[in-house]
């Protein structure tokens, strides 16, 4: 290999290595496990030592606000019996989409007490498809006469 090519190779490898290192550091500081309520409960003790992005549907009527702290229950989309209480302590206000039945994505940690303490949250309204079915039946009945 010619010295010139070697220089390019060494330069490129160095750049890529630095970026891989930075990426790894960034990965370690921001990785979290995306789990549904059932998955988190099934992972038992492992759940206490990880950052988790918990996905669940807000149980209607459970939202309680205490100053900036918001406490509510979420259940699993498929298994409604699996419920976890979330205590939101984040800095940012909750999004407009956060309300009963919304799908919440809470980032934080599960505490030994069984309460999930979240520091950031996003929420999506129930999926278009489900909404469409629900709305469709109602509209249809109104339309039949």
């Amino acid at each position: 290999m010619k010295p010139k090519q070697l220089k390019f190779l060494v330069g490129s490898v160095l750049i890529v290595l630095v970026l891989i290192y930075l990426g790894y550091a960034g990965f370690k500081s921001s990785m979290s496990y995306n789990q549904t309520v059932s998955e988190m409960l099934a992972s038992k003790d492992a759940a206490f030592n990880r950052h988790i992005e918990l996905e669940g549907d807000v149980v209607p009527g459970t939202i309680k606000r205490d100053g900036k702290i918001v406490i509510f229950d979420v259940n699993d989309k498929k298994d409604k019996q699996k419920i976890v209480t979330i205590r939101y302590e984040g800095k940012d206000p909750l999004p407009d989409t956060f309300r009963d039945n919304a799908t919440a994505m809470a980032k934080g940690k599960l505490e030994r007490s069984g309460v999930f303490v979240a520091t950031s949250m996003t929420a999506k309204c129930a999926s278009k498809y489900e909404k469409e079915k629900a709305a469709g039946v109602v509209v249809d009945k109104a339309d039949l006469n």
């Binding site: 970026l19 990426g23 990785m31 789990q35 309300r99 278009k128 709305a135 039946v137 249809d140 039949l144």
Partner: protein, 679 residues
Amino acid sequence: MGQVGQFALALAFVVTIYSIASSLLGIRLRNDKLIASGRNAAVCVFALITTAIGTLAYLFLTSDFAYSYIAEHSNRDLPNYFKISSIWGGQEGSLLFWGWLLTIYTALVVIQNRKKHTAMMPYVTSVLMGTSLFFTSMHLFVANPFKLNAAAVGTQVMGVFSPADGQGLNPLLQDPMMVIHPPMLYLGFVGLVVPFAFAMAALITRQLGDTWIRTTRRWTMAAWGILGTGILLGGFWAYHTLGWGGYWAWDPVENASLMPWLIGTAFLHSVMVQEKKGMLKVWNIVLVIMAYIMAVFGTFLTRSGVVNSVHAFAKSPIGGYFLAFIVMALSASFYLLIDRLPYLKNEDQMGSVVSRESSFLFNNLILLVACFSVLLGTMLPSLSDWITGNKITVSKPFFDAVDVPIAIFLLFLTGVGPLLAWRKASTNSLKRNFMIPIAVACATGGVLLIMGVRHFYAWSALVMSAFVGTSIIREFYKGARARATGTGENFFESVVNLTLRNTRRYGGYIAHFGFVLLFIGWSGQAFTSDSEFEAGIGDTFQIHNFTLRVDGFEPVSGQNYTGDRVVVGLYKGGAKVANMFPGRRNYKGTGEQQATSEIAIRETLLEDVYLVFQGGVDDAGKRGAFHVYINPLVAWVWIGGVVLGLGTIIALLPNKKAAPSRRKKEHGAEAIQEGTTVA
């Protein structure tokens, strides 16, 4: 009425197949009539898909809720321009819109080149129509926008029912910016299909000189510019509508649009190496293939629901088809590439490490690493789920950790690259070219330190901006001064003429300057501050050197919403500088009554005061909760975007000729000129 659209789609499907068959058969039989017929068929497909999308627009405008796509994405109260923008408000319509844009591009390309590149064009037509065929089949068989509302499950009524009113367009999308952001993004995505089609045709016909690159240079640059504009418009919309105080969140859908843009940026630069030195030929084809795949992949990411995103549509069957198409396109194009490798030999050797071509090489390397990091971060949940069964996600810190240093390094190359000579830059020229920019950069760095800037990346970005900005201004100054002495024009005339006579080089500089401004805007993120507060009428709140005073709460209503707004006075140094009106609105037809925030922003070149009204905190409506952000330098992001766009447009213009008498030779002259321009 929907049958018209449905019929047009079915006909388009048949004509598309005919166009491909006729083009390919025409080459085989050396029959020009067949080739011309294939070309005409491609134009005909454009007319047919236009009819289909026109029908969809008609259904929206007449609120024909018998069609489920209309019922789900519109309602009677929606203003007409939002009814039109609802066409791309959902999956079926946005795919139809994609397909329609592709047929526009196809028609333009085949008409523009009907008398040129006779060997390549039938293949170009076939590749474009092949992509079209995929989309037309999706419209027809998988995601049909002309589906009628079937009778609801559980009732005895067969046939069609028409709901009294539609479910409305998502209120967040009821924004003028949303009328234009998706079309821009799509125009950019789809535009990347054109260079791909030419690259494939070049591979097939073994005409691997510069023809395909020269023919597609403007197409690629236009597509890249439009895509970038679309991305920025999305950020602009997010900033002005969503109310979390920022414009970029590394959301999967944002990432999906960024990836083809990064590849496109790499390609725009590396083609210059091929034009100038006859090198990187294989690499350029790889980039074009990747840009195309990323554009389709981006559409797939956004439309299939494989990733969790605020944008993504519900899970749907289209994902599998897209994946199959991508795999097919990838294997076919790489098979062709490998088969034609012998025709893609380098004509020259790489220069020194300190040379123009090496700066392009590093530019490409890190743009690719950037694209890969974005891809990895976006797909990690799906990949890790597939490999380990655990869904692992990463967020902003990961993307920032990799891509912020890359961006700053790129900015550095932006300043250095254009001033380096090809092959090897001499020490003397380095001194001459970089002395002033380095001095200005050092001075800026010192001043920033004295001002108390301690954030390393923000500091680096600003220092680098000073370096690059100075070197660009110096280039204009140097060129214009030389020209002014030679021609007797005044300095400003010289700047203008200089730019118009070598649009590619100076347009490029202006685009680079746009990037400098963007970096200045981005670095402002390191200095944001925010705070939440509750206040009633007459209460004040202090943040930074601003005072906010709540002056009143009042109800508002419009054609399709009702709501409240707050009058807030903004004071600086005791004097009132603005009235701000943050509010909340309830849009009609959104099913459950969902309130959305109307954000008030007072924008200045130095900083934005960004105020969100989160709602009343007492029943009397005399007290509210607020979130206020001070966002420094954000305006420079938008200004930089405009300058970037302007530079791109200038680079697209043909060079102005010296004297009108030479106009006859324009075509030949332009070809020569383009081959020899520096930037």
